[in-house]
């Protein structure tokens, strides 16, 4: 049962409910960072890394500090009942993600400087990448499409973070490949660049809608 659920989470996160093309999260890097295949791959890998780590840390944070059912904060109150701090989740998650991105930025600058320069402004932009915040929140909200209504388990959260990142990488790479080809095509002057990329992104989203009929 558990293996089946994990398999479902992977398939749903990558194809059926892809973060970019079905949930429409993380569209800024999808258009901004898909001009070159090499930087698209770098960006995708960075996002996978951030999403997995963010899933792990935000899950722990939420479970043990914010969620009254499992919180360890009981000693803070007189009656031993932990306070309900779930309303803090957005700001707390943003805090975690921002720190993580800062950390990765430092790490890349030291260890992989070419990738650091290739990602440029988009690396700090992962901070506000809604796909990362999205996966953290979705881990808490559950996965109703496959019948998981409550909070996901720790392992399931990690899997969703990883698979979501892989889906993001895949779409980014597909888009970059198409846009590299598109550079050589004859298109009207007014449609060159971003406008035709928007249309193509829309067509890709329609194509991915085909996966929603997939029954596993």
């Amino acid at each position: 049962m558990d293996i089946k659920v994990i398999f479902l989470i992977i398939i749903y996160s990558i194809l059926i409910q892809n973060f970019v093309l079905s949930r429409f999260l993380g569209l800024c890097p999808f258009f901004g960072c898909s001009q070159k295949l090499s930087s698209a791959v770098g960006m995708g890998l960075a996002v996978i890394f951030v999403m997995v780590l963010a899933s792990a840390i935000t899950w722990i944070l939420y479970t043990y500090l914010l969620d009254p059912a499992t919180s360890v904060m009981g000693y803070m109150t007189a009656n031993g009942v932990p306070p309900d701090l779930t309303f803090l989740r957005t700001i707390a998650f943003i805090l975690v993600i921002a720190s993580l991105v800062q950390f990765i930025e430092m790490f890349l600058q030291k260890k992989v400087p070419p990738l650091y320069r290739a990602l440029g402004i988009y690396l700090p932009l992962i901070t506000t990448n809604c796909a990362v915040l999205g996966v953290a929140v979705l881990n808490i909200d559950g996965f109703s499409a496959i019948g998981l209504n409550g909070k996901l388990t720790f392992l399931q959260s990690l899997v969703q973070g990883f698979a979501g990142g892989v889906g993001f990488l895949m779409v980014l790479v597909l888009m970059a490949g198409l846009r590299e080809k598109l550079d050589l095509a004859t298109i009207p002057e007014s449609m060159k660049g971003i406008p035709v990329a928007f249309i193509m992104g829309g067509l890709m989203a329609i194509a991915f809608m085909g996966f929603s009929g997939l029954s596993i």
Partner: protein, 331 residues
Amino acid sequence: MITVVSSVIILGVIGIFFGACLAYASKIFYVQLDPRVEKIAESLPGANCGACGAAGCFSYAEGVVEGAFPANGCIPGGKDVATIIGGIMGCAVEELTPMKAVVNCKGGKKEARQKFEYMGVQDCKAAMLLAGGNKACEYGCLGFGNCVNVCQFQAITMGENGLPIVYPELCTGCGLCVKACPRGVISLIPQSQKIYVGCVNPEKGKAVKAVCEVGCLACGICANKNNNPSGDIVMEGGLPKISYQDNLRILPGATKCPTGTYVIDVTYPPVTYNQEKCNGCEGKPKPLCVKICPAKGCLTFDAERKKAVYDSSLCVGCELCISECPVVAFK
């Protein structure tokens, strides 16, 4: 109340914890960066054109600090950037001759014959893969604008005639277009040069005439002694080769070209002629000035009056007649 207090405490603790982690990480991952590298990188154009030999502007900046690249290595940046880098590095900088890209092909849609109509990918390299391109001339510009796309400085546009137009004032001489052109029709020449050969076809006479109206026939008229006393033009491999020094010295030869292959991007004021002084070069069949003048119809000989007749509207301003006239009738 308890909610407010506990949320403040928890968020504060989380913030302090991550702040401490980041502070520690910044110690571990501290990158020692020479401040000069950043300063130099900021002063560079940032086009990552690679004309300096480095992979990009940043690696060039690193190379300058390490001593691997000269301070005047940035060709697009030119004199200004070289002076700034020299100031940062504290060394004197030699001046480089500013260069510009020119298109050595005049055979546009009108002048050059097409072999077939090409309807594939609009890219010079792709077009060249199909039977060597759609132009009958195996050497000329294909006109799909690889150079236009590669230029980082918007210095090239595609003209209506299917030939790229380079704006010298925007061109930095980085040479990206030279590398991008599969035909090799673009070359770099000094900015001051206004006359260059508009053909790269090394074949001769009939073979060139059959494919292009303005191609170089390798007739050698521009390089012969009368039109080219300075010897700046030399015929080499079926094409004239110019040693760029002075536009004026190339002008007579370039004007004489029967097919108009030369691109002459400069005008000189016409000479002034005092006909009263002219004695028609007595004892000679033709006045010396008429013989030497490269512009057709500019100087003609009036045999009845024994005087040279001058039409200033046709003068190219090459001043050959001034040096040739024995009675100093030209100024």
